[in-house]
């Protein structure tokens, strides 16, 4: 048996079997056997997440061979893509057809399917998370049959539950995405003191297409990252020094290449609570965690959505994430700051470290029970959930 490890190395387990089918037909046959033997199955993405969503001692499914890009509809800016495409490859191949994601996260190594299923996001107060792109899918359901779902045919309610469903409704093999015609962005990175950043925060968020900042706890400096279409957004910042500029197609300038591995906790807060929460965290890190915390704290914003388990459900959102070098101690640090996040009504990122359990996490989401009801209809026998989801998250 091979031990599986996530990207940062903080999550390791030995699955019963790793399955890598080459086609939908092969996958259907595998699922038929799994159903016959009363087994469970979980989906594997790129392994960038560090929460135990993938952990299983039974069947672990990789869809890495499902990398199609089909049914391009340029008029409506939609396409069907395979569930095994990474953000990087998917973005690049869509660009060949003149289409683009509206946003990406900070890195592009994740599978698009994984990013969608966990409510992963970029930054930009007028931009929703990546899950918002999902308008259809082909899915192997708990009865072993493949079905096609579209928002037009199956309704907004179903899709609001499906979009952030942590792989618990079935195995999505292909996804229909709502995209944008390909567009260019100019990326500028500015360096300034954190206090100057905070003083201008509202303007930075509202006047730019994409804005986020990193705060560096060991020197109190901030890196502001601003992306706009040519000629739009804030052009000059009197209080900051431009240290990097790049322009090109959105998919080439939105994410950045990162080799340094880290563990991460992220919470989504009501937009208006973001600055006060950040100030509190800054104070605690300086007072208690300076010795071991060397890297950075990331602050982003996202537009509200209606997706039942989306951390941005019903409210414009600020997210704050702590990045700690892989291998450095993080438990006490993350747990302490997590209490601060919770005191500001924070909701954890599904794919990152957190310590919430069902009773508390269910209170974060007004449509929690509606989600559970639809999940049960989709998978009454719990084939697509692991022990972590069953016990710690859903309390089934």
């Amino acid at each position: 048996m091979n031990t599986w490890s996530n990207w940062s190395g903080s999550l390791k387990f030995t699955p019963g079997k790793i399955i890598e089918p080459a086609s939908e037909q092969e996958l259907l046959e595998i699922v038929e056997t799994i159903l016959k033997n009363n087994q469970k199955i979980r989906m594997l993405g790129a392994g960038h997440s560090s929460s135990p969503l993938v952990v299983t001692d039974e069947n672990l499914l990789s869809l890495k061979h499902f990398r199609s890009v089909d049914n391009i509809d340029k008029e409506n800016s939609t396409a069907w893509i395979g569930a095994g495409l990474t953000v990087k490859e998917g973005g690049s191949r869509l660009l060949d057809h003149g289409l683009s994601f509206h946003n990406t996260g900070d890195v592009d190594i994740q599978y698009i399917a994984g990013a969608i299923s966990t409510g992963t996001h970029g930054s930009g107060i007028k931009l929703k998370n990546l899950s918002s792109m999902l308008v259809g899918c082909r899915m192997i359901c708990s009865d072993g049959h493949i079905k096609e779902f579209t928002e037009d045919q199956h309704g907004k309610e179903f899709f609001d539950a499906l979009r952030v469903s942590l792989g618990t409704f079935g195995i999505m093999t292909q996804m229909k995405l709502k995209l944008l015609p390909a567009f260019q962005l100019i990326r500028k990175e500015w360096c300034t003191h954190i206090e100057d950043c905070l003083e201008h925060l509202v303007e930075l968020i509202n006047e730019n297409r994409n804005f986020d900042f990193y705060w560096y706890p060991r020197n109190d400096l901030a890196k502001l990252r601003i992306l706009n279409e040519p000629g739009k957004g804030l052009q000059k910042l009197a209080y900051a020094k431009c240290v990097e500029e790049k322009s090109g197609w959105a998919i080439d300038v939105l994410p950045k290449q990162r080799d340094l591995r880290f563990d991460e906790i992220e919470y989504a807060l009501p937009l208006e609570a973001g600055p006060e929460c950040f100030k509190e965290i800054r104070k605690i890190i300086k007072a208690k965690f300076r010795k071991i915390v060397a890297w950075r704290v990331l602050y982003r914003t996202i537009k509200a959505d209606d997706f039942y388990l989306s951390p941005c459900f019903g409210r414009d959102t600020a997210t704050i994430s702590l990045h700690q070098n892989a291998g450095a101690p993080f438990e006490e640090y993350f747990r302490t700051i997590e209490a601060v996040f919770r005191s500001f009504d924070g909701r954890p990122h599904w794919g990152k470290k957190h310590n919430l359990e069902s009773e508390e996490i269910s209170q974060c989401y007004p449509r929690w029970n509606d989600f559970l009801e639809i999940r049960k209809k989709m998978d009454p026998r719990g084939i697509f959930i692991n022990r972590y989801l069953q016990k710690q998250i859903f309390d089934l």
Partner: protein, 125 residues
């Protein structure tokens, strides 16, 4: 000008002070190295961090252009791993060509700024 100095430098007494008073980064308690390259060409450097009770951490890489001075705060090193504050450490810096390296420590932990500087130990070994 010809490159002067040594290719290998050692700083055994690293220890970044934990406390800082005053606005950062200007008054940040820190360990810092200053590297002078008097030669004409860019020099690549590799830094290794040693600890009293764990294996060395290698592969911190830097460059310094010809006829330039570069200062590096040890507090800011994060790739491949940070140097923790209030922890003893030592540095070995290996350069492609001769450079001169000085070590500085600023401690603002007790409100009065204290600055100490010393030449690193240069060696051809």
């Amino acid at each position: 000008m010809q490159a002067i100095g040594k290719k290998k430098w050692v700083i055994p007494a690293g220890h970044i002070p934990l406390q800082t008073t005053g606005k950062e980064p200007d008054f940040l308690s820190q360990d810092r190295i200053a590297i002078l390259n008097t030669g004409m060409s860019t020099v690549k450097l590799k830094l290794t961090v040693y600890h009293p009770d764990q294996e060395p951490i290698e592969n911190y890489f830097f460059e310094i252009k010809g006829q330039r001075l570069r200062k590096i705060r040890i507090n800011d090193l994060i790739d491949p791993f940070p140097v923790f504050l209030a922890t003893d450490y030592a540095l070995v810096i290996e350069a492609e060509h001769e450079v001169i390296i000085q070590f500085l420590r600023m401690n603002t932990g007790h409100k009065n700024v204290a600055i100490m500087g010393t030449m690193a130990y240069g060696t051809d070994g």
